[in-house]
């Protein structure tokens, strides 16, 4: 039997098995058949080979926080364009949030998404179901039926379940299915009509502020409810030093909580809002330097478990308006990695921690058997060039939307190959022309 693919001379970097070794990887039948320095390749037929010298080969990256906009808002993104963007960004598995139109609050919509994925996507897509029907915060969605259909977590992301009683019931109910409850932490009343972080800069720019307390109150509440119920909480897009402190303390007390941080909350402060570029408008808002320090430190020490892009595509019509009226959110799948890598290069967070937070950690949070190159695992693999420098150009995005504040940034670390179940689903065209894949 011949191989699907043999990856040669790779620096194999897999935090799930504490592996950092130069060697080969043999892929057969879509699975990792063997890896290391002693790989025996089947004789006879010619095996497709990929020379990965000088590059890092890691388990396929996982992004547990994306918005694919389908069904309902396909002018912003579709399952096809969103997953193509993901593949180009190095992601082999993504989870998509429930705030589609209609909302993914029933097994019918979950199944619809999966059927679309089966025909439109070359990567793995895991739907997240709504906590409440229509994301309205009034009554629980049919979480069990969606779980049967294949959801991997529940979330009203984009909104907070403001009714504490209902949130408690959601946490309780989730235990039957061992689903993480993903909390979008923004107190709706405190947030009000705010459009940016509340502080000196909101005072300067004359924009309505969103206080950090609006996030921290909900993080604190949901941690207490998680302790009360013994459920499993995942805090999406942590943006403040206060939230970090609450999560750190909760973990110390043994509460089952995980957390994620986005590329933009690791790299941008609310100072950039002064351009009134609506691509800087995001929920939760960009915060202050001390918050960036806190989330970076939390990522380094594992208080924040995972990295997630919160890829939120919006069309030009949604963004080319007054700052007050623009939609919240920015695209992220195609810019996430070089920004994470920048944190490794400039802030000294270890590469192991970064890759861990993009592979086996997010896999654990949503309970999927991914994020590892162990023998027998699905051959989902990402290969990147750690040295290559380039400039982010939004016009090259596969995503249907261009709403990024990172256009024109000079970055380092380029995805070369994205491989799902042994098949190359993305390759950097330029390098391919030079004969990378033979």
């Amino acid at each position: 039997m011949s191989a699907d693919l043999v990856i040669r001379r790779a620096r194999i970097f897999d935090p799930s098995q504490n592996l950092d070794v130069v060697g080969d990887i043999l892929i057969q039948n879509g699975k990792i058949q063997a890896l290391g320095t002693q790989v025996v390749v089947p004789q006879g037929k010619s095996n497709p080979e990929l020379d990965a010298k000088g590059w890092l080969v890691t388990p396929g990256w996982i992004d547990i926080h994306t918005h694919l906009r389908e069904p309902g808002q396909t002018h912003k993104e579709t399952i096809r364009t969103g997953t193509e963007a993901a593949a180009a960004g190095g992601f082999t598995s993504i989870a998509c949030m429930a705030n589609t139109k209609p909302v993914n609050d029933s097994s019918f919509i979950t199944t619809y998404i999966q059927q679309k994925v089966a025909t439109e996507s070359s990567i793995n897509v895991y739907p997240i179901g709504a906590i409440t029907k229509g994301l309205e915060g009034q009554e629980l969605a049919e979480i069990g039926s969606m779980w049967e259909a294949g959801i991997v977590a529940i979330s009203d992301d984009g909104k907070t379940v403001m009714n504490s009683y209902l949130m408690r019931k959601a946490l309780d109910y989730s235990k039957r299915f061992n689903l993480a409850v993903v909390c979008h932490a923004e107190d709706a009343h405190l947030k009000g009509r705010g459009v940016m972080n509340e502080g000196f800069n909101s005072a300067r720019f004359g924009l309505r502020g969103i206080p950090k307390a609006s996030e921290e109150i909900i993080v604190a509440r949901d941690l207490l409810l998680t302790e009360l119920t013994g459920a499993r909480l995942h805090v999406a897009h942590v943006s403040t030093a206060g939230s970090v402190a609450l999560i750190r303390e909760a973990k110390r007390r043994g509460i089952q909580v995980t957390a994620e941080v986005t590329p933009h909350h690791l790299t941008l402060t609310d100072e950039v809002v002064g351009t009134y570029d609506t691509n800087t408008k995001v929920a939760p808002p960009l915060r202050e330097p001390q918050d960036i320090e806190a989330v970076t430190e939390a990522l380094a020490d594992g208080t924040i478990d995972a990295l997630a892009s919160d890829h939120a595509p919006h069309s030009v019509e949604d963004k080319e308006v007054e700052y007050d009226h623009a939609e919240f959110g920015m695209v992220g799948l195609e810019t996430a990695f070089p920004l994470y890598y920048r944190v490794a290069l400039q802030k000294g967070v270890s590469l192991k921690r970064i890759i861990s937070a993009m592979t086996h950690k997010p896999a654990e949070i949503i309970g999927i058997p991914k994020g590892t190159l162990k023998v027998g695992a699905d051959a989902d693999i990402t290969i990147f060039d750690p040295e290559m420098k380039y400039r982010i150009d939004k016009n090259e995005f596969r995503s249907k939307s261009r709403n990024t504040p990172f256009d024109g940034w000079d970055v380092q670390g380029k995805v070369r190959y994205t491989i799902v179940a042994g098949k190359v689903v993305y390759s950097d065209a330029q390098k391919e022309a030079q004969g990378g894949l033979r």
Binding site: G206, L207, G274, T275, Y276, E322, Y323, D324, H325
Partner: protein, 325 residues
Amino acid sequence: MTENKHKPSRGSHNSLGIKSLLGTEFLDKSQIEQILKHAFLFKEWVDSGKPVPQTLLGKTVILLFFEPSTRTRSSFELATKRLGGNTLVLTKEGSSAEKGETLVDTAKTVQAMQPDALVLRHSSAGSPFHLDQILDLPVVNAGDGFHEHPTQALLDLMTIQQFKGKIEGLKVLIVGDIAHSRVARSNIYALQKMGAQVSVCGPPTLLPPKVEQMGVGVYYELDKAVKNKDVIMTLRIQFERLNAGQSPSRGEYSKFYGISESVLKSAKSDVLIMHPGPVNRGVEISPEVADGSRSVILNQVGNGVIVRMAVLHLLTGGKLPEGLV
């Protein structure tokens, strides 16, 4: 790396060295002085009844008012006409904005009419920045949300200069809803650049976050705040804010933050009383004070037209006859 600076585009289209007037935060002292110098020149002509140099002759100024305004709009209109220019007023009502056209589209349409300057009033902060970036003509911010209202600050400076003979070293108090006031922000920046000491006073619910970082004194108690001040500016209170949990009632607001004769007993005898208008008599200021000898509220209105003449003249690159400047 992208430039992430909170500042408008630069230009050397005119002697002021800026393309647009977006806020006093972006002016330096010499630019403010230049505007005030021109304003006082124009004031001499206007006050003496001599013909004003028609430096906007044949030029068109478009007044794009997306938020209701009577006095600022008419002030810009009169300023343009006194200099011989034409105005076209577009308001939200009756414009394509009502039909769903975006601000950017409206502005591009307006530019196609080849005006020489655009004056924008808009309820969203930053809107004039967008227009400044996409339009190739001077944009004058006539108030953007809670952000800035630079010509109001310039007319206030002119009025202070007129009555106090100087700005540097003066102690100025701004009273009221600082958080939602573009007038307060523009005045804080402009006064500080001219060397005045600025303080603010208002209910804590109506002060901006971290306002002390703007380098201003902060008071919650009005009788303490007014002591030793040379100028007191009181701001118009929006009644809808009083209903939104920011102050319990008009009566209570007036009791603690209204400028009355009794409050002024602890102030300097020659304190200047200012208000950007329109005045809520008996709420933020008592009728006796508004109409009293220390009030310069009506002088502010007159100076408003003159300052806007100076701004439009300078931004459109107007030239005064030799020997006058």
